[in-house]
């Protein structure tokens, strides 16, 4: 396939402190004991997209991510790891690596995506409509009932990442997108687009999966001309959507020079007719109707198409972009969406590594994961939690709804609820944690009790 994939793996996201650290960039955070980036890479591999550029912010992080990828995906994928400076935004990152982009279409994927939406289907939708950009959307309460349980229905509306998306009646084209700060203002819908389509469906219950297919020529042109654009989602995509009826990019208008296109003159018209046939459209899309003007004469209006791929409701899709999301995703991947984890679960719906040792009267409930070489003492109880490798857990320990990473030592009589415990942490005896995050290598002293706090070692 003529697609090049760019995985934006980020760096040390500030939102995820204290989970991320110098040793663990965001891309390597464990989800069900696998780095989150592996979910995207596996997903791409399944769609036979093997030519990847992984963009990592910061050379230090890039080194770590690169090291892991070359070990894990040797011979499976062709991956270039490209370090970019920090805080240049998604569009900035693409700009920085633009000289690497050669294919006709680029698939841009966020490295923190945990999903089973097939990127191949997105790419196909993109090609079918000969679109300039195709965005992937999923229905919003992605993490299912767990999410609605933890947060009330009311503050869901204020959830960050909420966006408003306008679709055409066939739900194939993207007509409007508003995200971020724009949501605070009243909604402004362009009349010209509404007029051309006649009907627009505005949805607030769709989530942008951050999986975009973009035509390379357009992407490069936009990045080149609009130097202030920082984010794909907030700048590039809205810009392309806004200008779709008055295209300023060289997509459909003048015959463009295409390196891999062998037919130059007729390519345009041919592709349009082809795309019509493919789009199974005896009635043309509004873009073409609009472009041809009222009397059918081919007037000089230039349009481009912004498409959407809306994933099925039963597909899982989540982004690891907050601590809450980290807990949710870990729970989901061991729970309802356990097909994503790539493990085969036992009849009890849990997975205990054969090398793990359990003391007597210790129970590990369903939807739990116990990593390689971990040891648990007597009378422990683990519910809906993920425990990493080589952990040493004492007796009478209760772990509920939590994520415990590798090499963690937990003393006797501890209780860990709804918390994230990073690698190499030591919990001494009778520690009680509720809704806490404990940064790597932290030591929690015996008998202490924390509630809703974030514990981390002081820098240096």
């Amino acid at each position: 396939m003529d697609f090049q994939v760019v995985v934006l793996a980020g760096g040390f996201s500030k939102k995820l402190v204290p989970l991320v650290s110098k040793e663990v960039p965001k891309a390597l955070l464990p989800v069900a004991n696998r780095p989150v980036l592996s979910y995207v890479l596996d997903l791409l591999e399944q769609s036979n997209l093997k030519d990847l550029i992984v963009v990592v912010e910061g050379s230090d992080a890039a080194f770590r991510v690169g090291g892991w990828i070359s070990a894990a995906y040797l011979d499976r994928l062709h991956v270039d790891v490209a370090p970019v400076p920090e805080d240049i935004g998604t569009a900035g990152a693409l700009r920085a690596i633009s000289h690497h982009l050669t294919a006709r279409d680029i698939l841009v994927v966020s490295g923190d995506l945990v999903s089973d939406v097939p990127p191949g289907a997105v790419a196909a939708a993109h090609r079918r409509h000969d679109a300039v950009v195709t965005a992937t959307l999923c229905s919003n309460p992605v993490s299912g009932p767990a999410d609605s349980g933890s947060s009330g229905a009311k503050d869901k509306t204020k959830k960050p990442g909420r966006n408003i998306i306008g679709l055409d009646p066939s739900r194939q084209f993207l007509l409007h997108i508003a995200a971020g700060a724009e949501l605070e203002k009243d909604l402004r819908v362009q009349k010209s687009i509404l007029r051309a389509v006649g009907e627009m469906e505005l949805r607030a219950d769709l989530m942008d999966a951050h999986l975009y297919a973009i035509k390379r020529s357009v992407l490069l042109e936009v990045l080149d001309q609009k130097e202030t654009f920082q984010s794909i989602k907030k700048d590039v995509l809205p810009y392309l959507v806004r200008s779709q009826l008055k295209s300023e990019v060289l997509s459909n208008g003048a015959p463009q020079v295409e390196e891999n296109g062998n037919d130059k003159v007729n390519s345009q018209s041919k592709r349009i007719t082809q795309s019509q046939i493919l789009a199974n459209a005896s009635n043309r899309s509004f873009h073409e109707l609009y472009a041809f003007g009222p009397d059918g004469s081919a007037s000089a209006r230039r349009t481009h198409k912004c498409c959407v791929y809306i994933a099925n409701n039963n597909k899982y899709c989540a982004r690891l972009n907050s601590i809450q999301a980290f807990s949710d995703i870990n729970r989901d991947v061991t729970g309802e969406a356990n097909h994503l984890s790539g493990y085969s679960f036992s009849a009890h719906n849990n997975l205990i590594h054969p090398s793990a040792e359990l003391g007597s009267k210790t129970t590990v409930g369903p939807h739990c994961l116990l990593g390689e070489g971990s040891q648990m003492g007597d009378k422990c109880s683990v519910k809906r939690s993920v425990i990493g490798r080589h952990c040493r857990i004492g007796s009478s320990v209760k772990i509920v709804n939590s994520v415990v990473m590798d090499h963690v030592t937990i003393g006797d009589g501890c209780s860990v609820q709804g918390s994230v415990v990073c690698s190499n942490v030591q919990l001494q005896e009778r520690v009680t944690l509720k809704d806490c995050q404990v940064g790597a290598s932290y030591v929690v002293t015996a008998g202490s009790e924390y509630r809703g706090e974030s514990l981390a070692k002081k820098e240096k």
């Binding site: 009243d186 007029r195 627009m200 469906e201 607030a204 202030t228």
Partner: protein, 729 residues
């Protein structure tokens, strides 16, 4: 009458609902507004009410009443206002008063100027007891009400706030003119896709604005809404009785859509809801303007409105037969062999058509006399019209009794009102409107006031029979003056197109939009788009969202600046008035306070503004030397210090005054600058400004640039003195 009516009511109720018990008490009612409260059909409507204008040779109200009867409505209240007598007389002589299961009651009012007034009037009459259908008498429809009534009732059971259901129909706008085929302007609606609740309704939108702004709350409350630009409002509403009382409560509601619907949508306190019902296969449209008149006529001829078509809808005892290619011919037509009658044409009883005459796509009324070599294309010719040889008519409306002398030509879009005579070989310019009545001189910009006009110059004397005599007697008089206007032997006035409407003339006329206009429009839409894109891109090209927010805050700044300038001006005016009219200080304070509230200003701004006005006054007092100016200032302080004092509640306000003073001295009133220290001293003496404030001001200025410290230096001695005095204390 009572007994049979009741049983009929029960029968009909059973037809429309599963719950006969509830409905047996209330027969299905309808309110028919036999007045559109607009002026779109002038000049014709000056002489005859709109509902009685023939649409394919049948008065419009016939279509509406026939539909209501077939849809199971049992009681219709016909609200008559303009030309009420004509409507009542017509109904009395029609079949409708003698229908067994269908009662028609007329309600006459003479002082209603809008639909709102009409509904308030009906509310007072207390005749509506249940859900009713609200339509105007110019509606043509064949939709079944069963579904929509049932939906409405079910919603009402669940939520008593669902007061209205609007019928809508899909109709794609022309991409160029942005109007529907009925000539109505574009309409933007937001509808909840699941409940069909109407969330937003915007007609007559500002074409210059490229974006439509929706309240952000809409999408917080609903996860998905559907925005429509391709829907047409059929103006058929199923209303609950609350609608009438709502109109009474909100006595300023006039227009059904503009005020009532929008009012309910905006108001979230009462929580009344409006729902929509989309019809797909049936027909519903309202004759809103000439273009709609033309379009609906053609729909009727093409039988979209079946059973409301010429050969089924009988009027009088003439029969009309449908012939091939959509030609309807009544009986007793005298037609020359050489006349060619094209498709989609209706010809009324007793009409005579001469040699070599060509007629296509037109409606010809009863008893017309059409000469030889006449060309009629896309016209609506009403009854008893005489068209002499060699005339050419294209896309025009010709009312009863018009005479067109030989060789006259009507350009597209012409409307000839009753009994106009067009002179020989005269060519009526495109879109012109000709009437025997002179154009009312006063053009009401407020179109709702049609009734008032009508009443004064027509209604009183123009019952149909009456009218003839009156007008003929006027004829001779008019003839003299109007000959020149309509050619040799012509009678009538050409109405000048009133200002502002000329732009819209072509939109609503019956003539198809000309090619040049289309080309021009295509151009403008392109420009619009350019404009809209610029508008849309402005924030984007200047950067990401942050800069967008920035530019917005600049806007806000601009706003506040304007606000404060406005506030200052108002305060100044108030103060000057107070000085000149010797208003008491307390009253001035009251006035300034109310201004402060209305402009949402701080006390410090009030103090600044008052001080500014005082200084302004001092400057305006005639003076020659600075001494005199200083004295003038002192005088003003003496008489008005209480006013200023009442706004100087603390140090901050006092500093604000000093800053304001400084600003004046350096910018607008340089004359004052030598007096700065002196006036400051006065202010101190009058205890208007405290020592603390002055020192605070100095402190604030310490870090400022040298150019900003001019006045600090000027007041240095004074400041020194102040400091020493306080030390002495």
């Amino acid at each position: 009458m009572g007994a049979p009516k009741k049983s009929a009511a029960a029968a009909a109720a059973a037809r429309v609902s599963d719950d006969p018990e509830e409905l047996a008490r209330v027969p299905l009612q309808a309110v028919l507004l036999a007045d559109s409260f607009t002026t779109k059909f002038r000049p014709i409507t000056l002489e005859r009410p709109k509902v009685l204008l023939p649409l394919v040779n049948v008065p419009m109200i016939e279509y509406t009443l026939a539909w209501l009867e077939s849809a199971g409505v049992e009681e219709v209240f016909v609200f008559c206002c303009a030309h009420a007598k004509q409507v009542i007389n017509y109904l009395e002589s029609s079949q409708w008063f003698s229908q067994p299961k269908f009662s028609v009651t007329t309600i006459e009012s003479h002082n209603s100027v809008s639909a709102g007034d009409a509904l308030r009037f009906i509310y007072e009459r207390n005749v509506i007891h249940g859900d009713f259908i609200l339509i105007s008498g110019d509606t043509v429809s064949n939709m079944s009400l069963t579904r929509v009534l049932q939906e409405h009732k079910e919603r009402r059971k669940k939520d008593s706030n669902a007061v209205m259901t609007m019928v809508i129909k899909r109709s794609k706008l022309s991409p160029v003119t942005q109007q529907s085929r009925l000539g109505t302007d574009e309409l933007f609606m937001a509808i909840d896709p699941d409940t069909k609740q109407l969330l937003y309704y915007e007609e007559n939108t500002n074409h210059l604005k490229a974006t439509l702004s929706l309240d952000k709350m809409l999408l917080i409350d609903n996860s998905s809404i559907r925005l429509h630009n391709d829907m047409q409002d059929c103006f058929i509403d199923i209303c609950s009785p609350e609608v009438l009382s709502l109109f009474t409560d909100n006595f300023d509601y006039q227009h059904l859509r503009r005020h009532f619907v929008k009012g309910l949508l905006v108001d979230d306190i009462m929580g009344y809801k409006i729902y929509t019902h989309e019809i797909h296969s049936s027909y519903a449209a309202r004759v809103d303007n000439y273009r709609a008149y033309d379009t609906i006529s053609k729909d009727i001829i093409q039988r979209w409105t079946y059973p409301l078509v010429p050969d089924v809808l009988l009027l009088g005892n003439s029969t009309t037969k449908l012939e091939r290619v959509g030609m309807y011919r009544a009986s007793e037509i005298v037609q020359s062999r050489s006349a060619q009658i094209g498709p989609l044409t209706v010809i009324g009883t007793g009409t005579r058509i001469g040699d070599n005459t060509k007629i296509s796509n037109s409606v010809i009324g009863k008893g017309c006399d059409i000469g030889s070599n006449v060309l009629i294309e896309g016209c609506h010719i009403w009854d008893n019209v005489t068209i002499e040889d060699g005339c050419q008519l294209r896309h025009s409306i010709v009312c009863d009794g018009v005479v067109m002398k030989s060789g006259a030509v009507l350009s597209p879009g012409v409307v000839l009102s009753f009994k106009v005579v067009i002179g020989q070989n005269f060519t009526a310019p495109a879109y012109s409107k000709v009437s025997l009545l002179p154009q009312p001189i006063k053009q009401d910009s407020d179109e709702e006031l049609e009734y008032a006009d009508n009443n004064s110059d027509v209604e009183t004397s123009c019952a149909p029979d009456n009218m003839n005599g009156e007008l003929t007697s006027e004829l001779s008089e008019i003839q003299g003056s109007a000959t020149s206007e309509l050619g040799c032997g012509g009678v009538g006035y050409i109405w000048s197109i009133c200002e502002g409407a000329s732009e819209e003339e072509w939109r609503h006329s019956i003539a198809p939009i000309s090619a040049e206009k289309l080309a021009e429009l295509t151009q403008t839409t392109d420009d619009d788009l350019e404009f809209s894109n610029q508008d849309g891109n402005a924030p984007a090209s200047s950067g990401e969202l942050r800069s967008d927010a920035l530019s917005d805050s600049e806007d806000d700044d601009e706003d506040t600046k304007n606000d404060s300038a406005y506030f200052e001006k108002e305060v100044e005016a108030t103060f000057l008035r107070a000085v000149h009219e010797n208003v008491q200080v307390d009253h001035v304070i009251l006035e300034v306070n109310s201004l402060k509230l209305s402009c949402n200003m701080e006390f410090s701004a009030c103090a600044g503004a008052i001080f500014y006005s005082m200084m302004k006054l001092a400057l305006e007092t005639p003076h020659k030397t600075t001494d005199e100016l200083s004295r003038a200032v002192l005088n003003i302080f003496n008489s008005w210090h209480r006013l200023l004092k009442s706004y100087l509640s603390g140090k901050d306000e006092e500093i604000e005054v000093i800053l304001k003073f400084e600003e004046m001295c350096s910018e607008s009133a340089k004359e004052l600058s030598p007096l700065f220290t002196q006036i400051l001293h006065h202010l101190y003496d009058k205890e208007l400004i405290s020592e603390d404030a002055i020192l605070g001001w100095e402190f604030e200025k310490q870090g400022a640039e040298e150019s900003d410290r001019v006045f600090v230096r000027q007041a240095e001695n004074f400041l020194q003195w102040l400091k020493e005095a306080s030390e002495e204390d």
